[in-house]
């Protein structure tokens, strides 16, 4: 406790006297002196001046003139012959934070000296201007060994499309580490053009480079997928889903096809699990005031009194990739219900959270996001659906979930084909049968079967 009090006192003093420090921090001579005192720094010596410069940098955040002065003095030091490598490394770290395009000419020179290439790359990493890439291009042609690799890595990291040709020229480089770095960078840039180039080399390349090429090619597909060029990505994943590829590459391609719901799974060959036995609620839980079993079906809600709130009967088991088939009907065209998939119960609440294959009113066949985004994620074509839908009689609902893809069919007509854009959402969860709050109404469910795709050992 005592330390905290002390600390708060120090802190409030700092706040009180900040304006005075700012003036001092911005002083040109002070900055020049501090930078000079760091210039000849060797490892193991006092770091007091470095900390002082860092403090000035922080305190001049809103003082562009002082910042310009700090950068100017650092650049002067970086050009000076008496500045040690240890000091240059420190200055480059600071330029990574505050460096403007004024740093580029000095960093460009440092790139060409193998002793300082990596620290220059460290500073250039955060430069937003495209001009930084020109300096990297120039250096690429002049450097060898690890210095060259540092520049290649950074060009890949910066995803510079103008570097593609120069990188391509390095793919067949004799020095394997450089060839591998170039291949990796092409994958990191990852646009269609890179995928095309990599695929050309894959046909005929040294054995040592095969895995790196396949990996970079896979990386291109990952980028294409991320940047909404799904069909191009799928084509690459399908190509790489081949036993001739390295095992980890094939596994990765399959994993991504699964994620996109594009893995070819024949659910008809999978033995179904009967989720509801027609007689008991075994394997299910929910508020039984609103769920009963009648004529081999689950009846949700009632026709006598208002349904005060949403109620769900849900499975005890979670499911991820599956095809769910069931029969469902509503008591009237005004009723509202639905089937939760990949959902969870909201703690301390009667609600469920997750995707719902919707039923009733104008929601039939739509994919709704219940207690999460609270909106229709994908809607059905009502006119087409109307041709096959039985408003107050049994309908067959088919729900197929593979990876982030959710597809819905009613009586054989596909209403929704949805790919979840948010990769961070959980795609595993419970199945729940809903009766929506509102006037007296019933939803009926029967013949509930699920075919589960398991990734197994």
């Amino acid at each position: 406790m005592k330390r905290i009090t002390q600390f708060l006192v120090i802190f409030s003093m700092f706040v009180l006297f900040q304006p005075a420090i700012l003036v001092l921090g911005a002083d040109q001579k002070t900055i020049e002196n501090i930078v000079e005192s760091i210039q000849e720094f060797e490892y193991g010596q006092s770091l007091k001046s470095q900390r002082e410069l860092e403090r000035i940098i922080n305190e001049t955040f809103n003082d562009p003139q002082a910042r310009e002065e700090v950068e100017k003095q650092i650049l002067k030091a970086l050009k000076s012959e008496k500045t040690t490598l240890a000091a240059k490394q420190f200055f480059c770290k600071k330029l990574a934070l505050i460096g403007s395009s004024a740093s580029l000419p000095v960093l460009g020179v440092m790139l060409l000296n193998e002793e300082t290439t990596e620290m220059a790359c460290y500073a250039l990493k955060t430069q937003t201007s495209q001009d930084a890439n020109s300096y990297l291009h120039q250096a690429l042609g002049k450097l060898q060994g690890t210095a060259k690799i540092a520049v290649i890595h950074l060009l890949g990291e910066r995803r510079d499309p103008k570097a593609i040709e120069a990188l391509e020229a390095l793919v067949l480089e004799k020095e394997l580490d450089i060839a591998k770095a170039a291949v990796l960078a092409l994958g990191n840039i990852g646009i269609s053009k890179c995928a095309y180039i990599l695929s050309q080399y894959r046909d005929d390349c040294p054995a040592d480079l095969q895995t790196a090429l396949a990996d970079a090619y896979l990386q291109c597909a990952i980028w294409l997928k991320k940047e909404s060029q799904i069909e191009e990505a799928v084509a690459i994943f399908l190509e790489l889903n081949n036993e001739k590829e390295p095992a980890v590459i094939q596994r990765g391609a399959q994993h991504n096809l699964l994620d996109l719901g594009r893995l070819d799974i024949d659910f008809d060959t999978i033995e179904p699990i009967v989720l509801f036995d027609g007689k008991t609620f075994d394997g299910w839980n929910g508020n039984l005031d609103y769920f009963r079993i009648e004529n081999g079906a689950i009846a949700a809600g009632n026709l006598k009194q208002r349904i005060p709130r949403n109620e769900f009967l849900c499975t005890e088991r979670e499911f991820s990739h599956f095809e769910l088939r069931l029969q469902c009907k509503l008591s009237s065209k005004d009723a509202n219900a639905g089937i939760q998939i990949r959902s969870r119960r909201v703690s301390n609440s009667h609600e469920m959270c997750g995707y719902q294959a919707d039923m009733g009113q104008h929601y039939w066949g739509a994919l709704y996001d219940e207690s999460r985004r609270n909106r229709i994620l994908a809607d059905s074509n009502k006119e087409e659906l109307g041709k096959v839908l039985n408003l107050v009689d049994w309908n067959e609902y088919v729900i197929r979930c593979i990876g982030r893809r959710v597809q819905l069919w009613i009586n054989g007509y596909q209403t929704v084909d949805y790919l979840e854009p948010d990769e961070s959402l959980s795609q595993v969860g419970l199945i729940g049968l809903q009766i929506h709050s509102g006037p007296p109404s019933e939803a009926w469910y029967k013949d509930i079967e699920i075919r589960v795709f398991e990734i197994s050992e």
Partner: protein, 429 residues
């Protein structure tokens, strides 16, 4: 290189199977059902290697992984000869055989086709790189925290595990500890009313010195040890104080933060986001090798208004609602609460925070089912993000606003410059 018939696809050894799931039995092998030492068929064992064999591995991970009877630890790797030899001897002593091999280079472990998973217990600067290399080699990964040195590393690792379909668990074992889960449940059940405030103590921090260069001692591969960090000459001080420098770690926030923020995220049900505003102050040593906060106070606020306070003092986490609060003391597992009745389950033991088995069990089960672990990369990355953003806020000495969706700072491009950095060649993510 690899046997195309044996190592393939999603799973560890077999071809992808579309299997009919006809029973409701969970795809789990409870350790209680596994019986004696040799009751698991060798072909069903998960073959494991450890990279980094310092104190964390020797004291916690080695016994915990050996305890799970469906695993076999067959290889250890460390850049300190003495450490790897000691680890190898300990593993072989426990198994009463000579099967475990010691390696200086992780490449030799990652090349071994029989190894299914790696445990990463190296220094922080290595976690993300080794996770990436192991994933690329088709291994699954149990990585100690902090699993990333920067927010950029964290995001890349999320993507890398998605690229290869890797099963990856962060070593934030409190996430699976029944007592912590009990407290989280109390919060979710709103037994403290609506959650308003989370307060966590991260303990104390310190240690400093001048890192004077010295000759590298025999049996120590310093270049390997240094890894991605910018080059500097060997000094026993910089090696001992690696947790106290931005180049190799990030001080107390990345050391204890990932544990505590993981719990905060769970309680607040914001596992895939982070607070939006960060405001704090810290005292940094103004001299010496150490450059991380020695004293700190951090206040962050989530989009839903819940405040997350990070303090000094006893390692603990307290959840405050508008009708009460509940707290757990990290070292012992002791619970405190208002009303008192909420903490009825408290059963304090020393090293309570180090109950490993449920967390490791979850990892091994997920290796078999190919599902996401409880501390999978995305949620772990977000918990780590809170630690890293806090550090950036304190380093820059100004309040920052965080955009979880785009993973950038709002109206502060300069702060975003600290999101990632280049690595020393040849290391790359």
């Amino acid at each position: 290189m690899y046997d195309s018939k044996k190592r393939r696809l999603f799973n560890r050894r077999a071809f992808l199977k579309i299997s009919a799931l006809t029973s409701i039995a969970p795809a789990v092998i409870p350790s209680s059902a596994l019986g004696g030492k040799d009751s698991i068929a060798p072909s069903d064992r998960i073959i494991i290697a450890a990279i980094g064999t310092g104190g964390r591995f020797m004291r916690a991970l080695l016994p915990a992984f050996i305890h799970e009877k469906d695993t076999r630890l067959v290889a250890v790797c460390d850049c300190w000869e003495e450490r790897r030899e000691k680890a190898k001897a300990e593993v072989n002593l426990r198994y009463e055989n000579e099967d475990c091999k010691a390696y200086r280079f992780h490449e030799e472990i990652l090349e071994r086709d029989d190894i299914d998973a790696v445990i990463l217990a190296t220094g922080d600067r290595w976690h993300a790189i080794l996770s990436a290399l192991a994933a690329k080699a088709g291994k699954d990964i149990y990585s100690e925290k902090p699993f990333c040195l920067t927010i950029g590393e964290g995001r890349k690792l999320v993507e890398i595990t998605r690229k290869y379909g890797t099963v990856w668990q962060c070593g934030t074992q409190r996430h699976s500890n029944p007592d912590y889960l009990y407290i989280i449940d109390v919060v979710h059940q709103e037994k403290i009313g609506k959650l308003r405030r989370i307060e966590t103590g991260l303990g104390d921090w310190g240690g400093n010195g001048h890192a004077k260069p010295e000759p590298i001692p025999p049996g120590f591969d310093y270049n390997r040890w240094l890894g991605q960090a910018p080059w500097r000459p060997y000094s026993p001080v910089s090696v001992a104080l690696w947790r106290n420098h931005w180049d190799t770690s990030g001080g107390v926030f990345v050391d204890m933060g990932p544990h505590m923020y993981d719990l905060a995220q769970m309680a607040n049900q914001s596992e895939t986001a982070a607070p939006i505003t960060f405001s704090g102050s810290a005292v940094f040593p103004d001299e010496g090798y150490s450059n991380v906060p020695f004293e700190w106070h951090m206040e962050a606020e989530y989009e839903n208004g819940v405040r997350l306070i990070t303090k000094m003092g006893t390692k603990s986490i307290r959840f405050i609602g508008d009708e009460g609060w509940i707290e757990i003391i990290d070292e012992t597992g002791e619970m405190k609460s208002d009303p008192k009745s909420l903490s009825a389950r408290s059963s304090p033991t020393s090293m309570h925070y180090n109950i490993m088995s449920p967390h490791i069990r979850n990892f091994l089960n997920c290796m078999r089912s190919r599902r996401l672990t409880v501390c999978h990369p995305e949620i772990s990355h977000r918990a780590h993000t809170i630690a890293h953003v806090s550090n950036i806020c304190l380093r820059l000495g100004r309040d920052v606003q965080w955009d979880s969706k785009n993973e950038r700072f709002i109206n502060d491009e300069e702060a975003s410059h600290l999101l990632s950095r280049t690595m020393r060649i040849p290391w790359v993510l």
